[in-house]
Symmetry: C2
Subunit: 355 residues, 2 copies
């Protein structure tokens, strides 16, 4: 005579539905999921069985409101189409998933204002932010950090929890590597002006150039994209350099294509070094590149974030990840002097070099 499983078809079952069916209070149902140790073994089993039968799943939103914990985190990247950030995202998601967090992803398109808006919009729904290469001024970041826990990736601000990929040594090794091969002048194709990594890498290259007797010429780019790298080619050819160190793989790939378009081949006419390792095996020839374990960087960022949220004391923690110069096929001896092959005459038209 008892009305068995009255599974309403239209509405998702709530904690009250389960409580009613199980003939217990809502609190008990709640505990069966959240604090099972407070209940007897049989009760937990009983409630869970009924819940399962009804297809009950605790309402995330309600729980968030009641506990004040959103159970979400947000990852902000400047450009999701850059494979570096795509890989990072995967690391973040996999760790977030195993830590019971869901992940918002926001792409700021390298735009600080958009970055600001996105953080504000998301703030109410997340317990913390992972800001990858944020372009916002320190002051603004501090404001946001006041409301929500923030972990930075590749931005070094005191008192912030942060993950830094330290490419300095590898860039120095790369310069040394080029010097040993006989290169005497190399170009650094730089990344975003506001990027901390770019500053670090540039400094390392300049210092190493000094030490190993390699003249360094800097090429500025608008954004670290394939196209920007490609656009550098003509200038590189005229620059008198024989090697290129790029801010990242995407730029390096662009540079290679640009050089090819001008009839130069790598590594015979130019040596090229990238960074991230994320495209290195996807070029022909395979790119000598400074490898970064992006996946692990993402995971570490989540770990750090969880850490800080759990125990404020570890905010301010600074985790440095190593990089690794992997020599592949885009670096070699420069052409013997005097036999250089330059399809583009230095000073040829287009370069309004009104001396």
């Amino acid at each position: 005579m008892e009305e068995k499983i009255v599974k309403s078809v239209d509405r998702a079952p709530t904690i009250s539905d389960v409580a009613r069916q199980a003939k217990v209070s809502r609190a008990t149902v709640s505990r069966a999921f959240g604090q099972p140790h407070l209940l007897s073994r049989e009760m937990v089993a009983h409630v869970r069985a009924i819940a399962e039968r009804l297809g009950y799943v605790p309402n995330h939103t309600a729980r968030a409101l009641s506990t004040g914990k959103a159970g979400n985190l947000a990852l902000l990247v400047p450009d999701i189409t850059n494979p570096f950030f795509a890989s990072l995202m995967r690391g973040v998601q996999s760790k977030a998933l195993s830590t019971q967090y869901a992940t918002f992803l926001a792409d700021s398109d390298e735009n600080p204002d958009l970055e600001d808006v996105l953080i504000a919009k998301l703030a109410a729904q997340v317990d913390g932010f992972i800001l990858a290469s944020p372009r916002l001024p320190k002051k603004t970041l501090l404001q946001h950090a006041g409301r929500r826990v923030c972990v930075l990736i590749n931005r070094d601000i005191p008192n912030f929890a942060r993950i830094l990929v330290d490419g300095a040594k590898s860039y120095e090794q790369a310069v040394e590597h080029l010097a040993r091969l006989g290169h005497r002048a190399a170009a650094y194709v730089s990344g975003p002006r506001l990027s901390w990594s770019n500053g670090q890498r540039l400094r390392a290259v300049l210092a190493a150039g000094m030490r190993y007797g390699v003249k360094i010429i800097q090429f500025a780019t608008d954004r670290p994209t394939f196209e920007a790298g490609e656009a550098c080619a003509a200038g590189l050819i005229e620059s008198g350099t024989t090697a290129v160190l790029a801010y990242d793989d995407l730029l390096a790939q662009g540079v290679m294509a640009g050089l090819a378009r001008h009839g130069l081949s790598v590594p015979e006419d130019f040596s090229v070094v990238g960074c991230d390792g994320v495209l290195a095996t996807r070029t022909y020839p395979p790119l000598t590149s400074i490898a970064i374990d992006c996946h692990s960087a993402g995971e570490k960022a989540v770990e750090l974030l969880v850490d800080v949220m759990h125990d404020k004391s570890s905010s301010g923690k600074r985790i440095v990840l190593p990089t690794d110069l992997v020599i592949r096929a885009t670096t070699a001896k420069p052409r013997p002097v005097g036999r250089a092959y330059h399809p583009l005459m230095p000073g040829s038209p287009k370069q309004t070099k009104s001396e």
Copy 2:
């Protein structure tokens, strides 16, 4: 004598704080933001002024609980490192932002089980899903669709709202293009077995092959990655074909690198056609590819989703997006018969360059 702005420093101000300061009810504050037309002009201004002064921002979570609308949507992709999906994500985000939605991103890593788990986890927090190339069986999708609105991208299931990128015509054109150049045998390097697009593209290629007298050989791949494309090279060389149509740009890029590694050049020795257009200008030579407007596909998906959520009647809507064969530099006449250049003897040992 009145206690002015008592701004508590520790806690974010709530609707009650504003109500107290403004000496009105909480309902009025709520309306001042949600239904201002129900209040007098002055009241709206008054409440908003106080709110602003206090730094009040409506709590997204609370609103979500109370209204039953999460104000979020989720995008599920099988592989965020594939630039096609990265671009799609950007389209989704930009439209979502202008429609007041925040976006969860989840990467299923081509794994149906993970896809299922992710949907379940996110279901409570979103009003709808955009499932890009879902690999889940129809039955499972129907279950999810019963709980949450789902818009599919590149999966054609009746009664689902869906966006389909119809590449069939372009693939046929591509085959015709190759036939006109003189190719008599071409390979189709396929995408994921469970992918709707792959089925569609394969059928189109086969049909066109028949029509234009081009023999089609199919190459299966595990996943549409650069590496998978690269791995096809040896087989392609032995296959007796002179052209390749790939499922997407990533595979095409891999194929090109693989061919290069075997000493063949594109388009002299092999013609290559990709799809998506997302890497086409990033290869050397630039890839002949079937262009898809990924950004707009993402935007359209959000529009459709909002549409369906607003008015169930438009569920079942089927939006087809066109593609466009863009001929660049990887397709050309095949080498005259008899003068074919095959560095790899068919069936020769793997390059054991001993002695």
